[in-house]
Symmetry: C2
Subunit: 493 residues, 2 copies
């Protein structure tokens, strides 16, 4: 283990390699035999399950229900919304046949040419088209609205350059798709879900985010407005962590979804869609983890507390176990996820390194002297600080410590972002500072041309037009034309 | 609603049409624009979510963890296990291209011939091949075993004749895939998961099942033994509700998954796989529901109790609501899922019919006189019996009633199965009785030839060789050759 740990590249040496190493060594995910598709290993999936459970509860609290729509979408559906097809056609996995036949000469199986589909099907890159085709039959009157559906599903976008969790051909996500009777209601919904995502990011992932709206060129293909939450990774790059789209009547019109309103007039339904994905696991890793391994926020850690016994004999282990089992039972009663690792084929030192790598927030260790003294050693993963304390009231101590760790890693990430966010007024300074891995607040003239120029010359994009903060107008740093407010620039994942 | 309800075909008239009507009218699922693929609507999906949660807890209690493997499988993987490819090649959706291109002449999108995959990918019909290809790298030593993974996923089998939930091209399921160091351990695992499924079927779905092992010709493609649970539907047909496969070393050998055992020798890993799917929702419907609509077991009902107010004025509604809100709060505290339907745009009669159709186990109704008398009307969905009782202790009454309904519908299904299961000794009687929709216990000589003959002549298949019950040997009803024990014959879904 010690040897393998050494192989975790230091962040200061190569941040990207550190990330890749950590995902593999912490057993979160790995590449599969299918290009761009990952295997999410049990420990990584356990984090996703925690995320799912929490988000699902939030969606239900805000009135949504789950449903499930087909994986495959007729090719023609994609073309019905002009911008949508431009956005997704280039990365579609296409199903053309529905049968293989076996060659009995031992050369395996071949596609059966007789089983060619009349119309090709694509694997959903996102489900607006198939869902709005379905909604057409669900919606006749304003009484049928709103429809507030969410779906947990896999989607596929044939990406050429993939990275585990951050960008994979197949990924898991949730996609909400809502239909409303009025523009206003749909806009409120889109903003509400942005709030839900921000709440989840900050209070569960301990990841501060900037809420904003995307510039036209960064919008979802088919949206009138895309609301986003943008997070800063440790290397100063931005990561788009969740988006919520106000789709106007684009899909209502494309799929002819009309309803009779309260006044008896026919109108097209208004739409939103919103999603977060397994990408969040990548964001989580790059927000908090360090050169020793993962640092997981207690609110999402699959194992919140691990207890390691340090013993010289079976008898001593039995004594320690008796003591520890009481603590385990109490912690479980408090809803804390705890593991007592008494496996005898691994040394305590190996276990310590392993749980550090896995980001378990609190590690307790009990040895012979602790047993005599009624004490226990507590290590917190975020600061690696150790202390030995009394066992009396250890459960409340641990509960409070978990909360403190949750707050501390949020604060740390927020401090980092604050220290790495600057305001810039000239394009020269911008070009210089963007190299340092910073969030830059700067004025922009609002045109896609200037945005494109900045992107081409600096690789920085407009992450969002922030909803909160300084709204003072100014002059575009590039063209000198009027700017309504500063916008957030950064290089991004 | 009254009109629509009338349109629910009676079971005695056409059982198959009744099923189809009910799935649609109770808003469980519908066909989609993609042939054979269904849309699972929110109410149907809510049942699936309940099933998932309970099964997932059961899997975790038996030591399993969740993971996620790729949707797409290289075509060549399928060929590596000879029987497996025979079983699945004929119903595979095949991905051949990874890009569409847009025609700017307005004719939409076409497949880009330049984006042809070197090797075709198939959408998983089941994941043994991609998972065992992954396990090769996870397993070196007996210390890495067992691996006990489960996956919740969508799969696709290109079925020509589909029926909502029962047989669809795409369906949702869970698939467990375990790897073991010994044959014995794998066999124990396969049988253990059959037990888990039987427990779930009987105690949550209220659906009695017969546990058995499949004959060779009914086995999963690639298995040495398939353990099954078989349920009887109301029409006397059998439904295979869950299977657990002992795969021997077939996939270990096909994918070269070896490990060093305790003695230092290399051996192939032993495998099991096991799964249940959204088909269970079809089984649930056909086990209990009636001509008025769904009958859901309380342990799986998304809404266990509905409360309908009957009022003449806003003031009266306010008084009733005050009283009902207290009951709602108490029921929720007891973990009971309850809905107070005070919507004012629907009449009580409409609501009654609606919740009957939706199979809500207990309906409470409170009117003005009830309010005066401190009473409430209780209707149980399974028997449609109504009574008016005091509000004092109504919560405990409802809790007990839910449990009684759960037991009652199980008993009813069991009684039906007992009354519809017969023992037959001659093939003449068999051919006559199989027309009546019965489970028939009969002797069989153990050969696939006789099995095939019976199937061709009667459409009945061997559902399983039961694990419990009469083990007396006898003579095959067709050939007169020796038979080890009676086996279960039925026509099946």
């Amino acid at each position: 283990m010690a040897k393998e740990l050494k192989e975790l590249t230091k962040r200061s040496v190569n941040y990207s390699q550190w990330y890749q190493d950590l995902v593999i060594k912490a057993d979160l995910a790995e590449n599969s035999a299918v290009r761009g598709c990952m295997v999410i290993k049990p420990y990584g999936y356990a984090i996703w399950e925690k995320m799912q459970r929490i988000l699902d509860d939030m969606f239900k609290e805000t009135g949504h229900v789950n449903a499930y729509f087909p994986l495959l979408i007729p090719k023609s559906f994609l073309s019905k919304e002009a911008e949508h097809v431009e956005g997704f056609a280039k990365e579609c996995a296409v199903v053309t046949h529905y049968r293989l036949k076996t060659n009995h000469d031992g050369t395996g199986v071949v596609v059966d040419p007789a089983a060619k589909l009349e119309e090709e099907l694509i694997i959903r890159p996102t489900s607006e088209t198939i869902i709005w085709n379905t909604y057409r039959n669900w919606i006749q009157s304003y009484r049928d609205l709103p429809i507030l559906c969410n779906q947990w599903a896999n989607v596929m976008r044939w990406e050429m350059r993939t990275r585990l969790f951050l960008r994979t051909a197949e990924f898991l996500w949730q996609e909400g798709h809502t239909a409303h009777a009025t523009r206003e209601e749909a806009e409120i919904e889109a903003k509400k879900m942005q709030e839900v995502y921000a709440n989840f990011a900050e209070n569960y992932m301990a990841m501060p985010v900037i809420k904003g709206v995307k510039s036209a060129s960064e919008r979802f293909a088919g949206a009138l407005d895309t609301y986003t939450i943008e997070a800063m990774m440790q290397d100063g790059k931005a990561l788009q962590a969740g988006t919520s789209h106000f789709l106007g009547q684009n899909f209502g019109k494309a799929f002819d979804v009309t309803f009779i309103d309260k006044e008896g007039k026919s109108d097209y339904a208004w739409a939103t869609s919103w999603g977060v994905s397994t990408r969040l696991i990548g964001a989580l890793i790059m927000s908090h983890s360090d050169d020793n391994g993962l640092v997981l926020p207690p609110h999402l850690a699959p194992i919140q507390v691990v207890i390691v016994p340090i013993y010289r004999s079976e008898e001593q282990l039995a004594q320690i176990s008796e003591k520890v089992n009481g603590i385990v039972a109490n912690l479980k009663k408090m809803g804390i996820s705890v593991k007592f690792d008494d496996a005898d084929n691994k040394k305590p030192g190996w276990k310590f390194a392993e749980y550090e790598l896995k980001g378990v927030p609190v590690r307790l260790a009990m040895g012979g002297r602790d047993l005599e003294n009624n004490t226990i050693e507590v290590m917190r993963r975020d600061t690696l600080e150790k202390e030995t304390i009394t066992c009396d009231g250890i459960e409340e101590y641990v509960q409070n410590l978990l909360e403190e760790i949750q707050q501390n890693i949020f604060r740390k990430a927020l401090d980092h972002r604050t220290a790495s966010t600057i305001t810039v007024d000239t394009y020269e300074e911008f070009k210089e500072k963007i190299e340092e891995g910073l969030f830059i607040m700067a004025h922009w003239d609002g045109t896609p041309e200037t945005e494109e120029q900045i992107k081409n010359e600096t690789k920085a994009t407009i992450r969002c037009i922030p909803l909160a903060g300084d709204k003072t107008p100014g002059k575009c740093m590039v063209t000198g034309k009027p700017s309504a407010q500063r916008v957030l620039f950064a290089r991004a994942y």
